[in-house]
C-alpha cells in the first residue's frame, strides 16, 4: 500500500509541468511535452545508448579506430560453431516446448480462467518461464547432477549410470532439459490466449453440419491456430537463443553457446586474438534475435485478426 502512495506522490509531479493554472487546454499542451523529457532521457541513456554501444563497438578496435576484423570474426569456424550450437539447442527446445506447451493449453481448455487450477498454472508458468534462470540450473544439478537425487536413484536401484559416457550436464546437451523446463511454461503463457479465443460455436456449427470432432480440429481448429503456434514457436526460439543465466550457472567456464562466448569475450581481454569481439558477437546475436522477433510480431498481428 505504501508503494502505491509513493507512486501517487510521484505521479503528481510530472503533469505539474503542464501548467496547472492555465485555463485553456491548448496553451497547456505546449508545456505538456516537458513531462515526457525525464522518461525519454532515461530510455535514451539506458536502452538506446547501451544497444548502440553494444552493436557499434564491434566495428572498432582497442584504440578506437574503425575496423572490420571483429565483424569478420563472425565467419571464424570457432564462432560459427557456437552459433550452430546455440541454434540447434534453441530450435530443439523451442519445438519440444511448443508442442508440450500447446498440449497443456489444450488440456486446460474449457476450464474456468478464474478457477484455482488456471490461476495456479498461470502463476507457476510465469515463475518458471521468466524468473527461473540460475535457480533452474541448481534444481537440475540437485536432480541429475553427479550426486543428484535421480542420478543416485538410477545408479543405486537400477544400476543405470546416466553419465557412463562422461558428464554431459555441463555441456551443450545438458542445456536441453533445463531449457525445456522454461520453454514449456513460456508456451503456455503465450499460446493460451489464442487457444482460449477459439469459439465453441464453431465446433457446434461443425457438429450440426455433420462434421466430426477430428474433422473440426484438422479443418478448422489447427489451420486457425497455426499462425499463433508458429509465432509462439519463434518467440521460444528467440527466448532460448538469448538465455544466459541457466547456461552460465551450469557451465562455469567455456563458451559452448553464443551468450557464453560473449561472457568469455567480456571477462578476458582477447578471444581468438581480437579485442571487442563481444561487440561483434552481440551484433550477430541481435541480428538473429531481431529477425526472429520481427517475424514473430508480423505473424502475431496476422494471427490476431480472427481473435477480436
Amino acid at each position: 500500500m505504501t508503494a502505491t502512495i509513493a507512486g501517487v506522490d510521484a505521479a503528481a509531479s510530472t503533469p505539474t509541468t503542464a501548467g496547472p493554472e492555465l485555463p485553456a487546454r491548448r496553451s497547456g499542451l505546449s508545456w505538456a511535452w516537458l513531462g515526457l523529457v525525464p522518461f525519454s532521457a532515461y530510455v535514451l541513456l539506458f536502452l538506446a545508448v547501451p544497444t548502440v554501444l553494444a552493436v557499434g563497438s564491434g566495428f572498432f578496435d582497442g584504440d578506437g579506430s574503425f575496423t572490420w576484423t571483429n565483424v569478420a570474426a563472425l565467419g571464424d569456424p570457432v564462432v560459427l560453431n557456437t552459433f550452430a550450437n546455440s541454434a540447434w539447442v534453441s530450435l530443439l527446445t523451442a519445438v519440444v516446448g511448443a508442442v508440450v506447451g500447446a498440449l497443456i493449453c489444450y488440456a486446460m481448455l474449457g476450464m474456468n480462467p478464474q478457477g484455482a487450477v488456471r490461476q495456479t498454472v498461470d502463476a507457476a508458468a510465469g515463475v518458471l518461464a521468466q524468473f527461473g534462470g540460475v535457480m533452474l540450473a541448481f534444481a537440475f544439478i540437485a536432480t541429475i547432477g553427479a550426486q543428484g537425487v535421480i542420478t543416485v536413484l538410477l545408479r543405486d536401484s537400477f544400476g543405470f549410470d546416466m553419465f557412463e559416457n562422461g558428464m554431459w550436464l555441463y555441456e551443450v546437451p545438458g542445456l536441453i532439459l533445463p531449457y525445456i523446463y522454461f520453454q514449456v511454461p513460456l508456451m503456455v503463457i503465450t499460446f493460451m490466449p489464442a487457444l482460449a479465443a477459439l469459439k465453441p460455436q464453431w465446433s457446434e456449427a461443425n457438429l450440426t453440419l455433420g462434421g466430426t470432432r477430428l474433422g473440426f480440429w484438422t479443418r478448422v481448429g489447427i489451420p486457425v491456430l497455426a499462425p499463433s503456434f508458429l509465432a509462439s514457436l519463434l518467440l521460444l526460439f528467440a527466448n532460448a537463443f538469448s538465455s544466459y543465466a541457466t547456461a552460465a550457472a551450469l557451465a562455469s567456464q567455456g563458451s559452448q553457446i553464443v551468450p557464453l562466448q560473449i561472457r568469455a569475450a567480456l571477462t578476458s581481454e582477447t578471444v581468438l586474438g581480437r579485442e571487442n569481439l563481444a561487440g561483434a558477437l552481440a551484433l550477430g546475436m541481435i541480428i538473429i534475435v531481431g529477425v526472429v522477433m520481427a517475424l514473430y510480431s508480423l505473424i502475431q498481428r496476422r494471427a490476431a485478426r480472427w481473435q477480436s
Partner: protein, 264 residues
Amino acid sequence: MNRLAPSRATRWIIGILVGAFFAIPLISTFLYTLRTADGGASFERWAALLDPAASATIKPIWTGLGNSLILALVTVVIVLLLLAPTMILVNLRFPRLRPIFEFTVLLPISIPAIVLVVGLTPLYLQIGRTLGTGTWTLAFAYGVTVLPFAYRSIQASIDAADLRTLSEAARSLGASWPVVVWKVLAPNLRQGLLSASLISIAVVLGEFTIASLLNRQVFQTAMVVVGKQDAYAPAIFTLLALLFCFLLLLIIGRAARGNRKATS
C-alpha cells in the same frame, strides 16, 4: 459446456505426464536438501541457515539478498515515479504517441540482456566514476528490463479506467493537475501499479546476467558463488525464491481477477 474441451481422461493423462516432468526436479531438489552425510534425511541444512556459526559460507547469499531487495525497491521507485506518470501523460495528452511509446517500452523483450550488458559495461564505467560503484546503480539497468512487464500491468489498468473522463470531471470541479493525478487517477490505477511493482520485484530477484557481468553482488550471483563450495544452501534458497515468486504472481493474478469483477 465447452464442446472444444478435451475429455476428462485426456485432461488427466496430459496433466499427470507434464505435471511429473515439472514436479520431479522440484521434489528432487527438496530431497537433495534433506540429504545428510550418513545417507539419512533431516532438516539440519535448513536449520543451519539461521545458525550464525554454521552460516559463514552462506553469508554472501544474505548480503546478495539484501542488495537485491534494495535494487528491487529502487526499481519499483523508477516504475512508479517515472514510467507510470509518463504513461498517464501519454494516454491523456499524447494519444498519437502511443504506438511509438509502446514499441519503445516493449523493445527490451527483443534485446537479449547479454547484448545489453555489452553496451552497459562502458556506461557503468562512467557511472562508477560519478555515482560510485554501489550496487543500487544497477537499478537503472533493471528499470529497463522490467519496462515491458510493468508497462503491460499498468496499461491494463489504464485501459480499464476512463482516464480522460475522470480527469476532465475532476478538472471541471476545480482540481489542480497534481490533485487529479494523486487523488483521482492513481487510486483508479491502484491494481496496475501494484501488479507492476510486484512483477518488478520478481524480475529483480531473479536477475543474474547483468549483475554477474558487471561484477555486482546480488542474490543470484551470490548463489553461484556459494554453490561452488556448498551445493545444498543454493538448493534451499532456490526452492524458497521460486516459492516466493510463485506467491507474488498468484497475488497479481488474484488482484487482476478482483479488478475484472469490479469493472464488469
